[in-house]
Symmetry: C2
Subunit: 305 residues, 2 copies
């Protein structure tokens, strides 16, 4: 059994060319920069616009990154789709590529589905993939997916697939839920990632293993610093610094704001594009974002060099 | 320009074999029965578990139906996906197959998206498909998709694509919304379908063109009777009869209940299967459904003969 993937992971934003096709070369370059800053790669997350990509597009990008030399033990691609056949195909491909884990949304079209139905979804995928190297991280993000992951569902999955169901990303935004996950499941080797660095310090102190955060796309080194120093006296100060930057991004449409910052600090306008139904920041919104970031001396050192 | 598709359409339920693969032959047989009962075919709707099918599975089923001789002027497949590349591919295939219209969900993963983003989604699809025969029916189903279709969005799309944006299915469950759509847009040749037969008579009286309803899978002839006689004195009585049957299905998980009834009246248990995250009715639930339907003398004459 290989070492578990832990610490900081970025849901890597996906660049698009002028015809809105994914740009694998720019994605590779951003992945390399993130790795150099101490962040692992949760490609195909919510902030990657993964659900705006076809399964074929996701597979082509994943293969390109692996062929480009991105270390697969640093990768936790999102592979949970609405259609179970898509989830199986994408998960199998990711495992065959050797990734450390798969971050799995529940099927999110139907609302009010039962835990029995969600259990069958994950169990069918695990059985169909049929690979002992598979590590699943459940993705709990009720504000977006609307369909959540209950404690009872986790308990049942852990009982049936103890080696395979390896952890969760909790993007509920509700610290008491994250805390409850850690206290109930961390003891059975279930790794709890906070859904943003806002809860990184409390999560580490409680017994969680890190965070998977949108803003890791732009502020990875500072978040990684807290990970290295969370047991030192400077930890609370580092957390406060992260919160300041996070707040600037969070009061705007997150994906468009992340891409705007990357476009600005790389000098590459391609990065500002998003796929519909998302919309890039307008000129005034963009100027306000950069000015607020400048005011806190935010930088992206060495970006895409 | 060919005649518009109107009246009654069923979001055709999708049969699955023992390994949960779609069963094209049984789907074809059900489509033929629906046509014989006066219903058109909104394959790949919510009640078809379309979002539990991969795009490849949907294309294979669509091609099978067309090759099997199903008249394409009776078809309005669902082609709206989260990923714009999927929507383009599926819509282009449907139009090339000659379908009467495409029923399009908005991209439904991201919540709180803007009308500008939704406009770009539909405009990009229409432009990319680039076929004058395309007729789009917007699919407004906020209880499930969470992302809805606003009046302002319709107005803007009608202005840019007057021949292409042809109507809407309103599954809001809110009659005042349906009424508002008819009074604001029906005059510009925009066809309003109620999302169920519960609003069929009021919709026809207001100036709408019919309904696209889950229960058309099981009760098509009776719904079609109301369509033929809505201007006669028996109309209110016919509507009341439809409401009685609808209520029996509606108090259960709809898709599982529809499939249970089809399995029962066809004597073919294959029909009871659903894909995760849905779950078939349990034994007691199934018995209660059939007994309530028997009590109102419900039948499915000639089903799959």
């Amino acid at each position: 059994m290989t070492e578990r993937i832990r610490g900081l992971l970025a849901p890597v934003v996906t660049p698009f060319d002028a015809s809105l096709k994914p740009d694998p070369e720019r994605l590779l370059r951003h992945c390399r920069w993130l790795l150099s800053q101490g962040s692992g790669l949760a490609v195909f997350g919510t902030n990657s616009e993964a659900n705006s990509l076809s399964v074929d597009e996701r597979i082509a990008l994943l293969d390109y990154l692996v062929e480009g030399g991105i270390p697969t033990q640093q990768m936790m691609p999102g592979t949970g789709c609405c259609a179970i056949t898509d989830s199986i195909r994408l998960t199998a491909r990711a495992v065959n590529n050797g990734v450390a884990g798969c971050l799995m949304l529940p099927p999110f079209y139907y609302k009010g589905v039962t835990d029995e139905g969600l259990y069958r979804n994950f169990a069918t995928i695990i059985d169909a993939v049929g690979n002992a190297r598979l590590r699943i991280y459940l993705y709990h993000i009720p504000p977006v997916a609307q369909v959540g992951i209950s404690f009872e569902l986790i308990e049942r999955l852990l009982k049936s697939y103890p080696g395979t169901v390896a952890g969760i990303k909790d993007s509920s935004g509700d610290w008491s839920n994250t805390q409850g996950l850690v206290s109930r499941f961390a003891g059975s080797g279930f790794d709890v990632f906070a859904g943003s660095e806002s809860f990184l310090l409390p999560n580490l102190r409680a017994g969680g293993v890190g965070c998977i955060s949108a803003t890791a796309n732009v502020n990875p080194a500072a978040i990684h610093r807290l990970l290295r120093h969370w047991q030192t006296p400077e930890a609370d100060g580092l957390q406060a610094g992260l919160d300041t930057v996070r707040a600037i991004f969070q009061k705007r449409p997150m994906i468009a704001a992340l891409k705007r910052a990357i476009a600005h600090w790389s000098g590459d306008e391609t990065w500002s594009r998003v796929r519909p139904p998302l919309v890039e920041l307008g000129t005034e919104q963009a100027a306000a974002l950069i000015s607020e970031l400048d005011a806190v001396r935010f930088e992206m050192p060495g970006l895409h060099n």
